[in-house]
Amino acid sequence: MSVLSVRDLNVSYTTQAGDVPAVRGVNLDVARGEVLGLAGESGCGKSTVAHAVLRLLPVGARAEGEVLLDGEDVLAMKPGRLRAVRWTEAAIVFQGAMHALNPVRRVGDQVAEAMTIHRQASEREAFRRAQQLVEQVGLPARRARDYPHELSGGQRQRIMIAMALACNPNLIIADEPTTALDVMVQAQVLSLLSGLQQEFGLAMIFITHDLSVLVEACDRIAVMYAGRIVEEGPSDLLFGSPAHPYTKALAAAFPQIGDERFRRAPSGLPGDPPDPAAVPRGCPFHPRCPEAIAACAREDPSLLKLTVDGRRRAACIRVDRLGAPEMVP
């Protein structure tokens, strides 16, 4: 059974201009020990999906559908149950560790916080366990007594990872864990995350716009556009031979150092992602799509299976003509 399965999730934000849909019918499954990558431009709804998993959406947001954590619907939980589930079932590695740590409290106390909240340990025990966790993420245990400003950006992110592990969750949601870190530190943090994930057999959702990170860290990737999943598949295949034009554009936008072709003609995607309040009719991507035909403006495609087992899927009506690999006859 999957640790997390999201069924037909819709999230909309209430604004003065009316309800703005941020996530429109997303389905996801993450199995034990699996790492799912969630990719997409800013504003495509990937962080909203992550926050919906623990029902951490802001006050004006409305979530519909089902979010099953170990078979239990998070969206239907009573507040007390919800609080008990948070962090013990699923934990988040927040983006921007700088701000997610309270500046006036020792980092060890903040790692221990989750354990004391869930009454898993006394404060003293919790701090001792926090020190072990700090060691586990590659920092000396005495660093638990430091304040956030005494740590570097990478060290703070390690603390955030230690914090996520505190209550032995089954699922870890890493929400852009490596943004704002320099490339060398990024690599260290990534390998730390992957190592811990394998060691504990954790399910993990990895959210980022950095495709090189995704391909390296994930088993499976889902690409989001305008609140939808537009393509899904095993990570090596997905960017090796993308089926959806959007995925192609994303993959092509990624330069390879030393490759002459990229220096001569840096490729990108023209235009901006659509305003969630006014998503284009038909396929939401068609105004920017280089391969759009007239039908694209009329028809809104759902995810089509590209392989028999359904592990590769894409939402594009032209996908068969565009020559996706391993096509279903």
Partner: protein, 269 residues
């Protein structure tokens, strides 16, 4: 500037605490007065005597105990009310915030003195009541300040992270909001003490203080009603007056100095 204020404060607080060692409280008892009435300053009575022959120095030293005690206790009460209301309003928001803030506004706009006079005369004249009166009338400024800071702190990501950890309201407020609002409350406290001491003086001067205890305000009241000014007995009015000015000034200087330390935007000005 803060250092000067601190030195003055330490001097006065030490004097107040050590008063029983220096001078016996017998000096406050009119029946045990040793001096002649209304004597100008001399070696025996450095600040002269009052109309009952009591040493004004002794009165001023003992008066500092009541003035400072009322100042600190009233401030404690005021800060407590202000902090609780401010944090509650800022954190919960919505109709609760509206309700609490309208009550605060109401306390903010009604003039302090009439309200305090009415309350003091309703409750009766005692040390505890005067603390209560000053406490319940001086909290609205603190409440507004704390609410504003709470609004800013509660949107910080670590408060959201605490919610994600499964933290309840109480945990979020005591572990995350309060530690970050506390420096502001602390700086504010020191400024409120100055106001509270002035209020105590005012109420005592108007004859609403505890009649059984000597405070700087009540010395001034006695002096005023005994016609010290007309009799040329300046030594009876000046010591408590100067003491009040010095203490209030010292608290204000410390308050601003602290504000500067805690609020980076005020530095280098």
């Amino acid at each position: 500037m803060g250092m000067i204020g601190l030195v003055i404060l330490v001097f006065f607080i030490a004097t107040a605490l050590l008063a029983p060692i220096f001078v016996s409280s017998d000096g406050l008892d009119a029946t045990k007065a040793t001096g002649e009435p209304l004597q100008p300053p001399s070696l025996e009575f450095p600040f002269g005597t009052d109309d009952l022959g009591r040493s004004v120095l002794t009165l001023t030293i003992w008066g500092s105990r009541v003035s400072l005690l009322v100042g600190f206790m009233a401030t404690l009460l005021s800060i407590l009310i202000g902090a609780v209301i401010g944090i509650a309003a800022g954190y919960f928001g919505g109709w609760r915030e509206n309700l609490l803030m309208r009550v605060t506004d109401w306390f903010l706009v009604i003039p302090f003195l009439p309200l305090a006079i009415v309350l003091a005369s309703l409750l009766g004249r005692s040390l505890f009541n005067i603390i209560l009166v000053i406490g319940v009338t001086s909290w609205p400024g603190t409440a507004r300040l704390v609410r504003a800071q709470t609004l800013s702190v509660k949107t910080r990501p670590y408060v959201e992270r605490a919610r994600a950890l499964g933290a309840g309201t109480w945990h979020a407020i005591t572990r995350h909001i309060l530690p970050n609002v506390f420096p502001l409350i602390f700086a504010n406290t020191i400024l409120v003490v100055a106001v509270a001491i002035l209020s105590e003086t005012t109420l005592s001067f108007l004859g609403l203080g505890d009649p059984l205890r000597v405070s700087w305000g009540s010395i001034l009241e006695f002096a005023f009603s005994a016609g010290a000014g007309g009799a040329g007995a300046w030594w009876w009015l000046v010591p408590p007056g100067v003491a009040i000015v010095l203490v209030v000034l010292a608290f204000t200087m410390c308050g601003y100095a602290l504000d500067e330390v805690l609020n980076p935007r005020l530095r280098r000005r």
